[in-house]
Every structure is written in C-alpha cells, then in structure tokens.
C-alpha cells in the first residue's frame, strides 16, 4: 500500500508502450499543480519509462509500488 492519496487515478492496464506515458501526460494536464496522479500500468517498460517521463518533464515521482504484476506510480504535478 502506498502512503500517499491520489487526486485522480489513471488505469493503463493492458496498454503497451507508448500509451501509458502519453495517457499519463494527458491526465496530468487535467490536474492542478501540486495534485497527485496515480498511474496503474501492466507494461514492464513503464517501470523505466514513467520515471524518465517525470525526470524530463519536471513532475515529481513520489512513490512507485509494484504488486501482482502491476506497477503503480504516484506523480505530483509540478507547480
């Protein structure tokens, strides 16, 4: 279980590269600065791709949880 609560959840289960990253970007656009997005992914590539996306775009990756073949990312939108 994660220690952060999300303002919004994006489930990309079953989708593959590049869709999880593209959908994450779109979902973040709908949030206010400082709000937290929870991204659920089953794409093993997203394990490296979501952190790379955050590093590049400046959004903060607060926490990554891996459970039962799912990767869950908590991203705080940059201010």
């Amino acid at each position: 279980m994660a220690s952060v609560t999300a303002d919004k959840t994006l489930d990309t289960s079953g989708l593959n590269c590049p869709l999880p990253v593209l959908k994450t970007k779109k979902a973040l656009e709908e949030l206010q600065a400082g709000q937290v997005l929870e991204v659920i992914s089953t794409d093993p590539g997203s394990k490296a791709d979501i952190p790379a996306f955050c590093q590049r775009t400046g959004h903060e990756l607060i926490e990554t949880v891996e459970e039962g073949g799912k990767y869950i990312f908590y991203i705080r939108k940059k201010g």
Binding site: N16, P18, L19, L22, K25, F53, T57
Partner: protein, 182 residues
Amino acid sequence: MVSERLAIIASKGTLDMALPPLILASTAASLGIETAVFFTFYGLNIIHKEKMKKLKLAPLGNPAMPMAFPPSVKNTPVLGQIAGLMEAVFPGPPQIMGVIPGMTDFMTAMMNKTMKDHGIADVPQLIELCKEAEVKLIPCQMTMEFFGYKQEDLIDGLEPPAGAATFIQYVLEADKPMIIFV
C-alpha cells in the same frame, strides 16, 4: 532556454516500419521536445487517407520474421491446434512460404491481431496521438509529386509539404537538433 528539435524521417511504408517513427514522435513530444516527422518515399503511405489503414507486413525478404501466432489464436480450440501444427512443421522463419499468394495478408492479419492483444496502438491511433501531442507531420513535396499524391489524398492536420532543404534548415535552426532516420 536552449531549444531542442527532434526530427524523424519516415521513409518506409510497411506496417512494421510505420510504428517506430510514430511511437518515438508521440513520446518525444509528450516529453516536451519539439518534434517533427518528415514523411518521404513510401513513408508517405503512413499519412495517406486510405493506405494508412492497410499497411502490410512483408514476410518475403524479412528473415527476422518468425511464424508467430498471437496467443489469442493459440488458445482457440481448433485454430490453436492448426497453429501449433504449423509451428511444428516450420520452426524457423518460413522464407519460402512468403511467395505463397495471400501470405503477406495473412502475416499482416497476424501482426494486427498480436498488436491488439498486446495493447499496442495501431497506425491511425498513433497518428491521432501525434497530432494531440502537437507533433509536426510534414509530407515530402518531391515524393508527393513522384507518387502522384495530392494534398487531399493525405490526412488532415499536416504541415505544408516541404522539400529537403526546408526540412534540414528547420531541424538545424535549433540549439540541439536531433535526427532519426527510419
């Protein structure tokens, strides 16, 4: 701020060669990089209204291609047994089978099915994602004339057709220009 431009040149018109430029472009744009794809030669088919929907995968002359059936076919009762049998008879790349009429369409159907099973976006979807991410889609002027494609044969939302010099100049104007050739 230092300007960055990523330019991807899409010169091939087969299904497998249409995906990499579109995946890279949409991703780069969503990372905040100004991105353009230059469609030239057979790559123009990727943005052709009709042809983009039926790009094909060629088994002939493609030694890397295995006889791969998607899991959804393998798990179907009768079809799955036929697929298993075919894979047992042709364990390696069936190059010779590529000459059989209909093989290209068959392989293309298998590829499309596998992509769907794996949640990989198809060409029209990726084009839409590129547009949403504000990727500049530039058709090559010279090859449009060469193939006899008119502006109305191509999809909407493209940049004006450009020549090689315009494209090179557009890329190299940036402080950090990058070019990928597909």
